[in-house]
C-alpha cells in the first residue's frame, strides 16, 4: 500500500474517531509541554563558583527551585512525573470509539488489507495525532517562552525563559512522543485479531490475577527499608551513590507497579465476593463486570494511583520536615533562642501538593474518558436492559459499584505504600549534638569583648531524634480527594447513560 493511501485510510473515520484523534493530540500536546518544561529546567547552566556565590546559585531566577542547582533535578523529575497521568489520558483516549474503529478495520480487511497493514493503520492514526499534538505543544511552549519572559524589578525571572533546551532534545520529544503513542497502540492491539468478518479479542484467562502484585510491593518497600540504609552508609565513600539512586528509583517503580497491578487482583477478588453475596441486580451487574475484566480497574486507575502514591510520599516528606522543624526549635530553645528549620522546604511542599492535585485532575480526566467509553461501548446491552424494564437507576448504581469497589481499597493501598516508602526513605528526623554560646546580659555588656565572656554560658545540646507523625490528615485529604475525583467522573459519565439507553440504540449497528 502506498504511504498516501495508508495515511488516507488511517485518518478516515466517524465523528467518534475525530474526537479520539483530537483528544489524543491534546494529550500529546500536554505531554510535550511537560517534557519541554523539564528539559528547560535541566538546561539551566550552573555558574562557576565565585567568592560572592560559592554555592553556584543561578541568581537570575526568583524561584529557589530554579536557582539552586541541587533542586533543579527534583523539579525536572516532578515535571516528568506529570507526564504519567497525561500519557495515561492518551491511553484512555486511544480506546475511545474502539468498537467503531474495530468495524472500520474489519471492513478494510474485507477489502483486502493484511493484518499487518491494519495494525500499521491503527498505529499511524495514533502516531499522526500524537505528532500533531506534540507539534502544537511545542508551538505553545515556544510562544510561552517568548510571552512569559518578563524580568521583575530586580531583573529576576519567575520562569527559565532565558534558556532553551538543546535542539536535539527537542527533536527527541517531537519524534519520541508520537513514536511512544504508536507503539502503545500496537501493544494494545496485540490481543486483537482483525478478520474480514469482525474483530475478536483473544479470550482473557478465566483465572483471575494472582496475588503476585503483593510480591512487587514487598520487593519495592524492601528496597527502601533494607537496601537504602546499607547503600547510604557506603555512599559516604562516594562510588555507590549511583547504585543507591538506581535502587530507589527501581524500588519505587516496582512498588508502584505492584499497586497498579494489585488493583486487578482487588477488582477480581471484590467482584467474586460481591457475586457470591450480592442480592441486588446493580451489585450483580457490577460483580460480573469486575470479574470478567479485572484489569479494567488497573488500566483506568493507574494514573490516579500513581498520583496518590506520590502524594502520600510527599505527605510523608512534609511530616519529616515538620518533625525536623520541631527538633530544631527544641534545640534552639535549650540555647535560649527559638528558630526553626529552613521554611523553604516546607513551602516547597505546597508546590509538590499542587503538582499532585494537577496530576489527580488529569488522571480524573482519563478516568472520565474510560467511564464514558464503557457506557457508550455497552449502549446496546444497556438499551436492551432498559427496554426489558431494568430501571436506569439500577444501571447507574452498577456503574458506581463498579468504580468505587476497587477504587477504595486501591486508594488505601496506594496511600499506605506511598507513606511507607516515604517513611523508609527519609527515616526519623534527627539533629546531631550542638554547642552554642549564649550571652545572658544586656546588649552593651554582650557587645563588649571585655565583659562578654563573663556573661556567656556554653550550652550543649545532645543529639536528638524524633519519629515523624503519620500524616493522617494529609493522607485522608488525599484519599478523600482521589475518591471524590472517582465519584465526580462517574457522575459525569452517568450523564451519558440516558442517551445510551435510548431505544434507538437497539437499531444501532
Amino acid at each position: 500500500m502506498r504511504p498516501w493511501a495508508l495515511l488516507r485510510l488511517a485518518l478516515a473515520g466517524t465523528r467518534t474517531d475525530t474526537v479520539r484523534v483530537l483528544l489524543t493530540a491534546f494529550s500529546a500536546a500536554l505531554a510535550a509541554l511537560a517534557a519541554c518544561a523539564a528539559l528547560t529546567v535541566l538546561a539551566i547552566p550552573t555558574p562557576m563558583a565565585t567568592p560572592g556565590n560559592m554555592v553556584r546559585w543561578s541568581e537570575q531566577y526568583s524561584n529557589a527551585l530554579l536557582r539552586e542547582p541541587g533542586l533543579r533535578g527534583g523539579t525536572a523529575f516532578a515535571l516528568v512525573l506529570l507526564m504519567i497521568p497525561v500519557l495515561a489520558l492518551a491511553g484512555q483516549c486511544a480506546r475511545l470509539g474502539a468498537p467503531a474503529r474495530d468495524r472500520r478495520l474489519a471492513a478494510l480487511r474485507l477489502a483486502g488489507a493484511t493484518p499487518g497493514q491494519v495494525t500499521w493503520l491503527a498505529m499511524l492514526e495514533t502516531g499522526v495525532a500524537g505528532l500533531l499534538g506534540t507539534l502544537g505543544g511545542l508551538a505553545l511552549y515556544l510562544a510561552g517562552h517568548e510571552l512569559l519572559h518578563r524580568p521583575d524589578e530586580r531583573g529576576q525571572l519567575a520562569l527559565p525563559t532565558d534558556v532553551l533546551p538543546h535542539a536535539g532534545a527537542l527533536a527527541a520529544v517531537v519524534i519520541g512522543l508520537p513514536l511512544i503513542a504508536g507503539l502503545a497502540t500496537a501493544l494494545m492491539l496485540r490481543r486483537v485479531i482483525t478478520t474480514p468478518l469482525g474483530v475478536t479479542r483473544r479470550a482473557a484467562r478465566e483465572r483471575g490475577p494472582g496475588p503476585w502484585a503483593g510480591v512487587l510491593i514487598v520487593a519495592g518497600v524492601a528496597a527502601f527499608i533494607v537496601g537504602w540504609p546499607v547503600l547510604l552508609r557506603r555512599t559516604v565513600d562516594g562510588p555507590y551513590v549511583g547504585y543507591a539512586l538506581l535502587l530507589i528509583a527501581a524500588g519505587g517503580l516496582v512498588a508502584l507497579l505492584g499497586v497498579v497491578t494489585g488493583t486487578g487482583w482487588i477488582s477480581h477478588t471484590t467482584g467474586r465476593l460481591l457475586r457470591r453475596y450480592a442480592r441486588h441486580p446493580a451489585a450483580l451487574l457490577a460483580a460480573g463486570r469486575l470479574t470478567a475484566d479485572p484489569w479494567a480497574g488497573s488500566r483506568t486507575f493507574a494514573a490516579l494511583l500513581a498520583a496518590v502514591t506520590f502524594g502520600a510520599g510527599a505527605a510523608g516528606l512534609r511530616a519529616h520536615f515538620v518533625a525536623q522543624d520541631q527538633l530544631t526549635r527544641r534545640q534552639s530553645r535549650l540555647a535560649g533562642d527559638e528558630w526553626g528549620a529552613n521554611p523553604f522546604y516546607l513551602s516547597t511542599m505546597s508546590l509538590v501538593d499542587l503538582a499532585v492535585a494537577v496530576a489527580v485532575v488529569i488522571a480524573a480526566a482519563g478516568l472520565l474518558v474510560a467511564v464514558v467509553e464503557g457506557v457508550v461501548a455497552r449502549r446496546r446491552t444497556y438499551a436492551a436492559l432498559t427496554a426489558t424494564g431494568v430501571p436506569r437507576t439500577t444501571l447507574a448504581w452498577s456503574l458506581v459499584w463498579q468504580a468505587v469497589l476497587p477504587a477504595v481499597p486501591a486508594i488505601l493501598l496506594a496511600l499506605t505504600v506511598g507513606a511507607v516508602l516515604s517513611r523508609a526513605f527519609f527515616g526519623d528526623a534527627e539533629r546531631g549534638p550542638s554547642t552554642s554560646s549564649v550571652c545572658e546580659a544586656a546588649v552593651q555588656l554582650c557587645a563588649d569583648p571585655a565583659t562578654r565572656d563573663q556573661y556567656t554560658r556554653i550550652t550543649e545540646s545532645p543529639a536528638v531524634r524524633a519519629v515523624p507523625d503519620v500524616p493522617l490528615e494529609h493522607l485522608a485529604l488525599l484519599g478523600g480527594g482521589a475518591l471524590a475525583a472517582v465519584l465526580a467522573t462517574v457522575a459525569v459519565g452517568l450523564l451519558f447513560l440516558r442517551s445510551s439507553t435510548a431505544v434507538e440504540e437497539l437499531r444501532a449497528t
Binding site: 441486580p281 446496546r380 436492559l385 432498559t386 430501571p391
Partner: protein, 233 residues
C-alpha cells in the same frame, strides 16, 4: 377480551413518520404477528405497545388504563412485571452467566437469590439449555443465546410477550425450535404475544396477522390459526 389496545398511534422520528394512526387490539392469550416490509413501522409499533416509546399522538390502553401517559418509571415497572420483551440480539449481559441473566428480572422484582436461580434453572431447562447455566453468552452459539434470552423474557410469567424479530439472527431450524418452544409455553400460560416479523413462515405461528405498510395497518384480522397443522405453534 382485549387487554392491550392501541388507538390511532402516530409516531415520527424527526421528519420521518413511522406510524400514521395505527389501531390494534390484543386479546388475552392471543398471538398476534405484526408483519410488513423493512422500515414500515413494525418495531416502532411494538415499542409503543410495550411502553418503551411514547407515541406522538393516540393512546395505548393496558387493561382499561392509559399506558402511554404513565411515567417512565411506571412503564419500566410494567415491563418488568407484566410484560416480557425479546429482541433479535444484543440483550444478554455479556459478563453474567446464563442463569444470572435469566434470574435478573426476578432479582429486580425482589425475589431472593436462591429462588431466582432455581426459577432461572427451570426456565433454562424448558428451553433445553440447562447445561449452560453457568456459561457466559460469549461462549454460546447464537441459538443458545436466543433460548436464554427467551427464557429471561418469560421467567416473570408475563401477561404479554413482545418479541421483535426473535429469530431474525438464527438459521431456519434453530429459529423454528426457539419459536416452537416459546409459542407452546406462551399458550400454556395464556400469555399474549406480539410477534414482529417480516417472514410469513414465522407469522404462521400466530393466531392473527396484522400487516403494516408505510406506518399504517394495511390488513388485520386474518385468522392464521385456521391454517395451522399442529398444536405446537
Amino acid at each position: 377480551m382485549s387487554q392491550l389496545q392501541a388507538r390511532d398511534l402516530v409516531r415520527s422520528y424527526g421528519r420521518t413518520p413511522a406510524l400514521r394512526g395505527v389501531t390494534l387490539d390484543v386479546d388475552e392469550g392471543e398471538i398476534v404477528a405484526v408483519t410488513g416490509p423493512s422500515g414500515c413501522g413494525k418495531s416502532t409499533l411494538l415499542h409503543c405497545l410495550a411502553g418503551i416509546l411514547r407515541p406522538d399522538a393516540g393512546e395505548v390502553i393496558w387493561r382499561g388504563e392509559r399506558l402511554d401517559t404513565r411515567s417512565e418509571a411506571a412503564r419500566s415497572r410494567l415491563r418488568r412485571t407484566e410484560f416480557g420483551v425479546l429482541f433479535q440480539f444484543g440483550q444478554l449481559v455479556a459478563e453474567l452467566t446464563a442463569a444470572e441473566n435469566v434470574a435478573l428480572p426476578l432479582l429486580l422484582a425482589g425475589t431472593g437469590r436462591r429462588a431466582a436461580r432455581e426459577a432461572a434453572l427451570t426456565w433454562l431447562e424448558r428451553f433445553g439449555v440447562a447445561e449452560l447455566a453457568d456459561v457466559r453468552p460469549g461462549e454460546m452459539s447464537g441459538g443458545q443465546q436466543q433460548r436464554c434470552a427467551t427464557a429471561r423474557s418469560l421467567v416473570t410469567e408475563p401477561r404479554v410477550l413482545f418479541a421483535d424479530e426473535p429469530t431474525g439472527a438464527l438459521d431456519t431450524l434453530t429459529g423454528e425450535q426457539v419459536l416452537t418452544t416459546m409459542v407452546r409455553l406462551a399458550r400454556e400460560r395464556r400469555t399474549s404475544v406480539v410477534l414482529v416479523t417480516h417472514e410469513p413462515r414465522i407469522a404462521a405461528y400466530a393466531d392473527r396477522e396484522v400487516t403494516i405498510r408505510d406506518g399504517a395497518v394495511e390488513h388485520s384480522g386474518f385468522d392464521l390459526s385456521a391454517l395451522s397443522t399442529g398444536g405446537d405453534r
